[in-house]
Symmetry: C2
Subunit: 237 residues, 2 copies
DNA sequence: GAGAGTTTGTGATAAAATCCACGAAGTCGA
DNA sequence: TCGACTTCGTGGATTTTATCACAAACTCTC
């Protein structure tokens, strides 16, 4: 959740949030969808270790999830395993990539070129997982023209045109909290349908826009509830 | 969320995860705890706007959560509102800070001084929300001695001693995935009880350690399920 | 190729989370 | 003071999520 990863009503958190989404009654639960990327990530790790097959039990132990849950989650989408053997890892990876629509490269625009924005732009893990940072914007004219990795910081005023050109449907917001809603409005106006928001605020967006949140403070505060304190409070183990 | 913000069984969430935590049967549900930081964040935003009171309805609209849910969540901890009026914002903020144990400053150690680690170290929002980055470590000897904001990067070998000195109970992991488990083991050995992990991996930790995850890819992939595609797939609105 | 051992997929059941709706408490204006 | 309105806190119904447990399918050894 959320906590970004908000447990927001809709999109969260993962400290994040989840989006409601009232779809057809036979729609697959959002909470199930939320676990698929975790399965995928774990499978890719196993694949890198050279493994060929795994089981719901092994996966479950690795993730701290029951094997039944994993089987039931996957069963929403088809039958991917084989009794007595388990799951073929490369095959299941391909299936999950298809289900999550990351069997392609999504161009993503990033707004905000402070230290967080630059860290995101420099992250090398996106490309192999379905995403490419295609442009970086900042509202500060002083930053425009600077290089960030292979990209050049562009003026925020260029967002509508560039989103169009790039065919981007996803935007990442890495600006200070006071600018976040304004940037979100701009992105949505430009045609963006999914937003990953690093600013500590719940955005107001049309229902057709999916927002996910990342806010480390939400996670830290969730944690401190359990860490309790020397003063003998509850909430601890 | 688990994702991280994992929706893990226990701790993860969110694109993060959540930790199980089998506590007394009268324990407050983890999912409720997960929403408290979001309430707190929103109340602080309202306070900065100069507001004195709010209602469960207003809060709910702002967050996309039902007002009943907010009232029920808060009712686990006491009666903070007044009929006909709502909640006094400064008062409720203080109560939530107490409940979440952020009515103090938690020293946090950060491991990893790449661009992500530096972005975290430079973030100015921690101090006013209960946390202070007290030390930064990196395994790369070439980085040791460099300045990051007001801090100096220290050798990873110093972790045990420094965690002791600082009395830190929380660690943030911002290292590449292949180093994450090793760093986690070191931190736990040093006495850390809560970890915020930015590496895309589910850590193996003793049950008394609380782990929260942040992984933007988890959120992006969750999102693309719904963004569907031109090729007429399901999963969309 | 028979038998012991795995592992999946899934109905049925149990547990958890959310929502509904209402009594009680409080506000406000005249 | 009274009546119309607002809002909380909460028991209980409803909906959602997770777990259980088992038949069927498959593997592997001898």
């Amino acid at each position: 959740m959320s906590p970004q990863s908000d447990p927001s009503p809709s999109a969260n958190a993962s400290a994040s949030g989840k989006s409601s989404s009232k779809r057809a009654k036979d729609a697959i639960p959002d909470i199930v969808i939320g676990r698929l990327p975790i399965y995928l990530r774990t499978l890719q790790l196993l694949a890198e270790e050279g493994r060929e097959v795994t089981s719901s039990q092994e996966l479950g132990e690795r993730l701290g999830i029951s094997s039944a849950q994993i089987r039931k989650d996957l069963s929403h989408f088809g039958e991917f395993g084989k009794q007595g053997t388990g799951y073929n890892i490369p095959y299941l990876i391909r299936q999950l990539e298809k289900i999550l629509h990351v069997d392609r490269l999504w161009p993503v625009v990033l707004v905000g070129a402070g230290s967080l924005g630059r860290a995101i732009a420099n992250y090398q893990g996106f490309e192999s997982r379905g995403f490419r940072i295609a442009a970086v914007f900042d509202e500060d004219p002083a930053k425009v023209g600077e290089a960030v990795g292979a990209l050049t910081i562009e003026e925020a005023s260029q967002i509508p045109q560039r989103v169009q050109e790039l065919g981007a449907q996803i935007g990442i917001i890495a600006v200070p909290v006071h600018a976040a809603q304004r940037v979100a409005d701009t992105l949505i106006q430009a045609g963006i349908r999914g937003i990953l928001c690093y600013a500590p605020i719940t955005l107001k967006v049309p229902e057709y826009v999916r927002v996910e949140y990342i806010d480390p403070l939400i996670h830290l505060q969730h944690m401190t509830y359990y860490l309790g304190q020397a003063n003998g409070e509850t909430g601890g183990a």
